[in-house]
């Protein structure tokens, strides 16, 4: 799978309420960030966790978030950021 998002793309994390195993942290769902890099393509953990190993590799991105966007009461420095690695199907492009 060719990655859909290039570094610099503004993205939003899907706010899905997942039933099974996912690698997207709960606290980051619905947040807006910017693609920092494409990490490559890897087996989908949501399939691997249930023994399905023949799936198509999914692009994985390192997405950078402003800490103040993630935590409403964040008290660190204003420019602090948080990087989270997120699979492509959890991301949608948004206009900055």
């Amino acid at each position: 799978m060719m990655p859909r998002f290039a570094p610099g793309t503004h993205v939003r994390v899907t706010e899905a309420e997942a039933r099974g195993h996912v690698r997207t942290p709960y606290y980051i769902r619905g947040r807006h960030g910017v693609v920092e890099r494409v990490c490559g393509a890897f087996g989908n953990p949501e399939e691997l966790a249930y023994g399905r190993r023949d799936g198509t590799p999914v692009p994985l991105y390192r997405v950078r978030f402003a800490q103040s966007d993630v935590w409403p009461d964040y008290r660190g420095r204003p420019g602090d950021t948080l990087d989270v690695e997120i699979y492509e199907h959890w991301l949608e492009e948004v206009t900055p």
Binding site: E17, G20, H21, P25, Y26, Y27, G43, P45, L48, A49, Y50, G51, R53, V70, W71
Partner: protein, 114 residues
Amino acid sequence: MRNHDVGGTEQDEPIPREQHAFMPWELRVDALLWVLSDATRPGGPQMTVDELRRGIEDMPAGDYRDLSYFSKWLRSMIAITTERGLISPGELERRAAAIAAEEAREHEREHHPE
């Protein structure tokens, strides 16, 4: 939101940050996972780390909260290998009971020699 979704939530107690030495059984659990998840094995690994995580996340909330790190690994590895048919339900308990009985006999021999 599931049991393991604790990132950013308020906790009753502070998180202990000091490292501790590993117990021998913890190192064994780690080694066993390496064997089970060996990707070079012909036919593929017996289980994946993704399955390990799924087994941990599917635990009841109380177990997830109370069990230690490697206890959760072990519990999940038992669940996944049972699911795959590598071990059968009850097999582990029977083996543990056999080992306990053997240890009891050894103890008896040492302390009450004929």
